[in-house]
Symmetry: C2
Subunit: 330 residues, 2 copies
DNA sequence: GCTTAAATTGCAAACGTTTGCGGTAAATTT
DNA sequence: AAATTTACCGCAAACGTTTGCAATTTAAGC
């Protein structure tokens, strides 16, 4: 069965295509009588406008492109969920591609976006990417690009990201407030700017406002490493009373060890992490965490996108603020 | 800056549009000399074919639609990741929409898919949906639909799903092997066929091969409900020695309670679940589970889709097989 | 050198819309 | 009753491609 078109409707109704078109969109030129007839037939024939013809004619596609390193990720999937919701509300659809942290894929994806004349793209740079010219080209063609999470350094781009330093500081504040004497602070890959930022902010804050608190800083690259690191330091006689996990991944390792050793939280050890909240809610008691919400970031990114589309270029870097979520682990 | 088109290239090269078009796709009619010239200019001008014009002309869109209840979901995100990979390999892009388990959204999404003349749709029914006519209509219009995970009962559709019965039976086998006397078996929404299937298979198997084992069957709709159900039954004097969780969601609730009550696993209670593996790995000891891989399901779904597109209708129900993964909880 | 075949290239229609402009008939004003 | 306005509606071009066919140029055969 072939698709219903304006032409078909026009033929059956003995009207011109233009009249049918206008009737369907409630144009004042068309009489109520014909409007009704047209709508009736359109409904019974399940007419759906051909988005491709429309875009070809109007030169605007109502589709956003999204590039993430991976969809299967606690952070990015909620980011995607957020912009999907907003997009739907605003009549846009989403085209989602994953780069798998591979610059080549990223390039190919961008190409697909251009071929589909997307109205804008949300991009998360893949880890070791420095080929921003492609993005430049999109901007030249008036396709706004909103970078998120992993963003370029230059400030000629529109970007949104988490307030990394704030997160670390909020965590530090709560640790101090708890009256901790010895802290084990676990951070991620030291090569990533996110690890650097968080550690630096955390360390500075602790040294300034709680110089007497003894902090041990360790970098780990996986859950397993985090678990090992925790175990190693837990053996010591002078035990720490608080552990800080920079990411979910690290928290998972820590909690494995805590469960294995049947350590009482928060009595024996306080736990605090930075997270979007899902992992911390898995444990009893819930782990207290500083919230970095992919969902919020998505909402923010969308606002930026809309601003870019409507009001020309809005070059700025916005961050979504962090807040402390009390679990029962501190 | 305006987009490069065939027309523009043709003008600059003093050639006809058709020649340029053919040159670009390496048509044998065109001489090598002009091909080179065309390619050179196209590259320098960053020509990208307009997907909309192509689709309008060729009536095929190279886009698949995907409907999931939620993107932010451990199972669906890996499913999506899988079909995204395959799609890219095959020159397709993905349009992903989430239903949020709301039939109305589902309907709207389908509409968007039809407007975009997708080449096919991967659909996971939202929980309480019985309006399959929309899907019928897509099929009538030769848009193949591959249902996954939550699929319609009728067997006139193409569907892929987990081998639900097998999963349940494998779980039951292991429970019997453990020598359990009293089992608490937690299932999901009783309205969902997935819950029904798993429960029925489980129950039948237990009754047949371990008639003396006492089983309590409970349906819950969320982690919180599962936690409550577990607590309620745990109060009893005649305690169960094994708990079976049909999904990650349920497992999470169970484990919250287990942690809260400081129950020793597997000594006091054995735990087994059905999962893709991530959640079970979060606990110590790792929870034993029957593996259901969203990733595998995605790959399978894609094969089905391709078969449908190429070889006409392939009505069948394929399942991806399950296997037991030993944790330390049994 | 003339005919014929082969190698190139161009013409034009079509895909399904939108929209500026012009046209006709009815309604209103003089 | 003629003139003008108003209410409807249709024509036709354009968006960027693809593709069957015709047209042109070049090479080949004799």
């Amino acid at each position: 069965m072939t698709n219903t078109t304006l032409k078909l409707l026009a033929q059956q109704l003995q009207l011109s295509i233009s009249t049918v078109s206008r009737a369907l969109k409630d144009h004042p030129d068309i009489s109520t009588a014909t409007k009704e007839k047209v709508h009736a037939l359109a409904n019974s024939l399940d007419y759906e406008p051909n988005a491709y013809a429309i875009q070809l004619r109007t030169q605007s596609s109502k589709i956003f492109g999204v590039i993430v390193p991976a969809i299967a990720n606690l952070f990015y999937d909620s980011f995607i969920a957020a912009i999907e919701e907003e997009s739907r509300k605003n009549g846009y659809a989403l085209m989602i591609l994953q780069s798998s942290n591979n610059p080549e894929n990223e390039l190919n994806n961008l190409k697909i976006f251009r071929q589909n004349r997307v109205s804008g793209v949300f991009a998360c740079l893949s880890a070791h990417t420095q080929h921003l010219e492609v993005y430049e080209k999109m901007s030249e063609r008036d396709i706004p690009v909103v970078f998120f999470d992993i963003v370029p350094k230059e400030n000629k781009y529109t970007k949104v990201r988490m307030a990394d330093e704030r997160c670390a500081i909020i965590a530090a504040e709560n640790i101090i407030q708890r009256g901790s004497k010895r802290v084990l602070a676990l951070f991620g890959d030291p090569a990533l700017s996110i690890s650097q930022k968080r550690k630096q902010a955390f360390q500075q804050f602790m040294e300034k406002y709680a110089p007497k608190t003894h902090c041990t800083y360790v970098h780990t690259n996986s859950s397993v490493e985090a678990e090992a690191a925790f175990n190693k330091h837990y053996e010591k006689t002078q035990r720490f009373d608080t552990v800080f996990a920079m990411t979910d991944e690290i928290l998972i390792g820590v909690m494995k060890s805590i469960q294995a050793n049947n350590i009482k939280v928060p009595k024996e050890i306080g736990v605090i992490s930075i997270s979007n909240g899902f992992i911390p809610s898995l444990y009893h008691p819930n782990i207290s965490y500083v919230e970095t919400s992919g969902y919020e970031l998505g909402k923010l990114a969308f606002v930026q996108m809309l601003a870019n589309i409507k009001g020309g270029k809005t070059l700025s870097e916005l961050t979504v603020d962090a807040r402390f979520v009390e679990g029962g682990s501190m």
